[in-house]
């Protein structure tokens, strides 16, 4: 993503124009928020941190890697957990955040230029964007008290599952 404003802003906007990254983050943030503020706060820091670590690993270690099926399966799983409003313990939610961050961070990092500082600064932009998205969504989800609004959040999870299933179909599409 080239905004013309430099690597930090490129990273900042990357999340918002990359649905493969944005969807699982939305699902996780809403899931954490539904579980409560404590969960939201944990994911708020765990996810960007893990994404940064993953980006660093991707920058340092890998050639460009794409794993569309793995990414989609993670999206589907998070959407399903949100739809079911699964009563996961905080360790599990943080674990999911770390897993998501490491996976997507490393895939992002593998696509970035490795010879300049562009990659590191861009990764920082992504981390800030994650922090903002999680704080907004988890905060909103944590503040809902009316039953039908909690149901609406869970319905959003089912939509994410549906989108993921279609994406999986695209990824595994029969040629011709």
């Amino acid at each position: 993503m080239n905004t013309g404003f430099g690597p930090f802003y490129d990273g900042l906007t990357h999340l918002f124009v990359t649905p493969e990254d944005l969807l699982p983050v939305i699902a996780l943030a809403l899931l954490a928020g539904l579980r409560g503020p404590r969960f939201g706060r944990a994911v708020l820091f765990a996810l960007p941190a893990a994404w940064l670590v993953g980006s660093a690993a991707g920058l340092l270690l890998a050639p460009q890697v794409t794993l569309p099926v793995a990414e989609t399966i993670v999206t589907i799983a998070l959407g399903a957990l949100l739809a079911a409003s699964c009563p996961l313990p905080i360790a599990a939610v943080v674990g999911l955040a770390i897993l998501l961050g490491l996976l997507h961070g490393s895939l992002n990092g593998s696509e970035l230029p490795k010879t300049t500082s562009y990659g590191q600064i861009s990764a920082a932009g992504v981390a800030v964007a994650l922090f903002v998205v999680v704080s907004l969504l988890a905060g909103q989800a944590a503040s809902v008290r009316v039953p039908w609004t909690r149901v609406a959040v869970r319905v959003a999870g089912s939509w994410i599952v549906a989108i993921g299933l279609l994406m999986l179909g695209w990824a595994m599409r029969a040629p011709g």
Binding site: T13, L23, L166, M172, A174
Partner: protein, 207 residues
């Protein structure tokens, strides 16, 4: 009044946040002769056929008629199972009788609304699921090669969900006696539309 304002404010904030999150994705909404198909194309696909529209709105109406938890279970089941059918269609997995099943869906769901059918929740979900597979499979096989899947999928699912929401909104009139009758009539109209599409499907004509 204070509670209403608080709830309205929360809904308003949520909608604004979601709009801001999803709006940048529309930057990719462009279509070039089937090569790259984005959000707009995916959004218009479920509303491109009256048979699809009738069935999806009927799901919402029936859910509203059945009340909680069906009012949200049915519209949750349909998009997910429909996407499963779409996935199967995209992967080239063939299923028999899809067009017949689609035509039957409007008839069956409309009739269920007309008769105020109240089966057990799992039966209602199963019926909706069977029809959802057919609808999804049809959409999946219709998608052209070279299309970009992600934004299309997002538009597709959102359009489907909004049709269900429309059906639920219509279905909420059943709280009033006159609304209950109106809803049943609406179900009858959907069912008659289903008869038309079923006839078309049986006679082999394109819908």
């Amino acid at each position: 009044m204070k509670n209403f304002l608080q709830r309205a404010g929360l809904v308003h904030r949520s909608l604004v946040i979601l709009f801001l999150l999803l709006y940048p994705l529309t930057a990719f909404a462009h279509r070039r002769g089937g090569e790259a198909i984005g959000f707009a194309s995916g959004f218009e696909h479920p509303i491109s056929g009256l048979d699809h529209i009738l069935a999806m709105v009927a799901v919402g109406m029936w859910g509203a008629q059945l009340g909680a938890p069906a009012i949200w279970v049915l519209p949750v089941v349909f998009p997910m199972v429909m996407a499963l059918g779409g996935m199967m269609g995209l992967m080239g997995i063939k299923l028999p009788g899809i067009e017949l099943c689609i035509a039957l869906s409007a008839l069956a769901l409309g009739f269920a609304v007309f008769r105020e059918a109240r089966p057990k929740l799992w039966i209602a979900a199963f019926i909706v699921g069977v029809f959802a597979i057919a609808h999804g499979h049809a959409h999946g096989t219709e998608l052209p090669l070279g299309a970009s899947g992600v934004l299309y999928s997002i538009g597709f699912v959102i359009a489907t969900g909004l049709l269900h929401a429309l059906g639920i909104a219509i279905g909420l009139v059943h709280r009033w006696p006159a609304g209950r009758i109106a809803l049943r009539l609406a179900g009858a109209v959907v069912a008659m539309g289903g008869v038309f599409f079923l006839w078309k499907a049986i006679s082999g004509e394109a819908v």
